[in-house]
């Protein structure tokens, strides 16, 4: 197999921004993107005229045919590099990778990456659930009343069956990340959550209850990627891309090669190899957590523990701030925000903030290397990124 060209130390994230989050009825999805983009640009200390590339993803609430062009039009940008990526929740990290590729290839110098939707107030909850049902195969899954929580529930049941993971361990993922969200000033969730509340919540798709499922938020997020050379002159401290890898195994769960082994291992392997780093070098992890079972699987596949030990890793407190590997220090999609492709994008923003430092109680002490994993579909599309405050 070919060895992928290295993107190590070639680009940096120099600005991050998130919109107002939660229920924001006075703003459109495009408005949330614009607010996040403006905040990211301010954070970078750059000008609108510096942006020569734009990458965005997709929107269920404002389903424009050419969303990338629509975002540029809304922001008054005329970029020479523009695309909409649709690999579901994996899109933000994949956009970081494509931005890096474009910058290294000299196709653009400074790229705005943004995503977000007004999923909480832009549509009814029923409409949001129904819209997401189209993730199921139209002919071989949807006729059986499948749902996204239902697909992940089948993965959770299989993981419990094969490895002995428990509902209590999954509940601890929600409980631990909620504690982190309470330390984040902009998180959607503002109150503590107990294991009993998670276990006794309204059932959605066994074994998943309501608190095992991510939020439905109004939220937008954005970051600015530029060349490592350009990053040197800016006011913000750059966070360098050390390694990044994609891997895609299926779209519909029906065609998943397995329900207990996924593509995280391979996207992680590519990222580690490019970075020249391994699991022991990582100080903080921002993992995709659309459902509580998912970060458990990702921890295992990224090599932070053996298969079947991910649940105990959370239950024993290793994933807490102050633990051996703090996970989802902003609260993740379970407690900070989830709005389409913005969900995983907030993991990238949080990794950058942790590496810059100065987050007070939320700060992971001495954090120099962070890993981010985004996945899309039903653990179908994967992208793992490794970031560092220093050139490795």
């Amino acid at each position: 197999m070919m060895k992928q060209a290295s993107l190590k130390n070639k680009v940096a994230i120099v600005g991050v921004g998130e919109s107002d989050i939660g229920r924001v009825p006075h703003m459109t999805g495009l408005g949330l993107n614009a607010q996040a983009a403006k905040r990211a640009l301010d954070d970078a200390g750059m000008n609108v005229s510096d942006i020569d590339g734009v990458l965005t993803a997709y929107s269920f609430t404002e389903p424009y045919f050419m969303l990338g062009s629509v975002i540029c039009e809304y922001l008054g940008l005329k970029p020479r590099y523009n695309a909409s990526m649709v690999v579901g929740g994996a899109s933000p990290a994949a956009m970081l990778k494509h931005a890096a590729e474009a910058i290294v290839a000299g196709q653009a110098e400074t790229i705005l990456v943004c995503a977000g939707e007004n999923r909480a107030t832009g549509v009814t909850r029923d409409a949001a659930v129904a819209a997401l049902a189209v993730v199921g195969h139209p002919y071989f899954e949807q006729p059986y009343g499948t749902s996204i929580p239902g697909f992940y529930a089948m993965i959770a049941n299989r993981h419990m069956h094969v490895y002995g993971t428990t509902r209590e361990q999954m509940a601890q993922v929600a409980v631990q990340t909620r504690k982190h969200a309470l330390l984040h000033p902009n998180a959607h969730m503002k109150t503590a959550l107990t294991q009993e509340q998670v276990l006794n919540a309204k059932p959605i798709a066994d074994p998943l209850g309501m608190f095992d499922c991510c939020l439905i938020s109004d939220a937008g997020g954005a970051f600015i990627v530029t060349s490592a050379e350009r990053a040197r002159d800016l006011k913000s401290s750059p966070v360098y891309l050390q390694g990044i890898g994609e891997y895609h195994t299926h779209e519909h769960l029906l065609c998943a090669p397995s329900l207990s082994e996924f593509g995280v291992t391979e996207s992680g392997r590519i990222a580690y190899e490019m970075a020249g780093l391994g699991p022991k070098d990582i100080d903080v992890a921002e993992l995709y957590d659309c459902f509580t079972i998912v970060p458990i699987i990702e921890l295992e596949e990224l090599g932070f523990c053996e298969r079947g030990e991910g649940g105990a890793f959370f239950a024993e407190g290793h994933a807490a701030i102050g633990g051996t590997l703090p996970v989802n220090t902003h609260g993740g999609m379970l407690s900070h925000a989830h709005a389409g492709a913005a969900g995983g994008l907030f993991g990238i923003l949080e990794a950058v903030r942790q590496l810059r430092g100065g987050l007070g109680e939320r700060q992971v002490q001495g954090a120099e290397v962070a890993i981010v994993h985004n996945e899309g579909g039903v653990l179908s599309s994967h992208c793992t990124a490794i970031l560092s405050s220093m050139k490795g």
Partner: protein, 158 residues
């Protein structure tokens, strides 16, 4: 006052229509296309058809124009015995659409056929809700109206 009199019957009629519609909504019918027509025609005759590649011999579900293993176009349809085991499942309490909400809780499962390929379907029958991974199941066919049948599964009690 006049407004409320004028408005109330209207709202009432809307609600009645909505409820009537709910009762009349039936579960979705299969949609066949060029890849799947033979599959759904087979289901109407109570046959579960899967594809076999004559070049590499690999069986697959979700019918395609080419073999996903070797890209051969030399594919044939074979009839599955319809027997298998539950690979995983979930009990759905929150349905994706109002049509399925009428039937909660219901079981959606992934079945591993004895021939190898996996298929998503519901587990039907009185003992469906107590299903476990590994339970033996056999195919049955659910009437979705106008002669359309879709493959479903029932637990096999030994």
């Amino acid at each position: 006052m006049v407004d409320s009199i004028a408005v109330q019957p209207y709202i009432h009629n809307q609600e009645m229509n909505y409820q009537e519609k709910q009762l009349n909504i039936s579960l979705p019918k299969p949609v066949s296309n060029a890849d799947s027509r033979t599959y759904w025609d087979g289901a109407r005759e109570r046959k579960l058809l899967i594809r076999r590649c004559n070049s590499c011999g690999v069986l697959h579900f979700m019918p395609r124009f080419i073999c996903p293993s070797c890209w051969s176009e030399d594919l044939e349809w074979i009839e599955s015995k319809g027997a298998g085991a539950v690979y995983s499942f979930t009990v759905i309490h929150r349905a994706p659409t109002p049509v399925f909400a009428q039937h909660t809780p219901y079981v959606t499962a992934m079945i591993e056929l004895d021939e190898g390929p996996r298929i998503v379907a519901n587990i039907l029958g009185d003992n469906a809700l107590s299903v476990k991974i590994g339970n033996r199941v056999s195919v049955t066919f659910e009437d979705r109206g106008d002669g359309d049948l879709i493959p479903q599964f029932e637990r096999v009690t030994n």
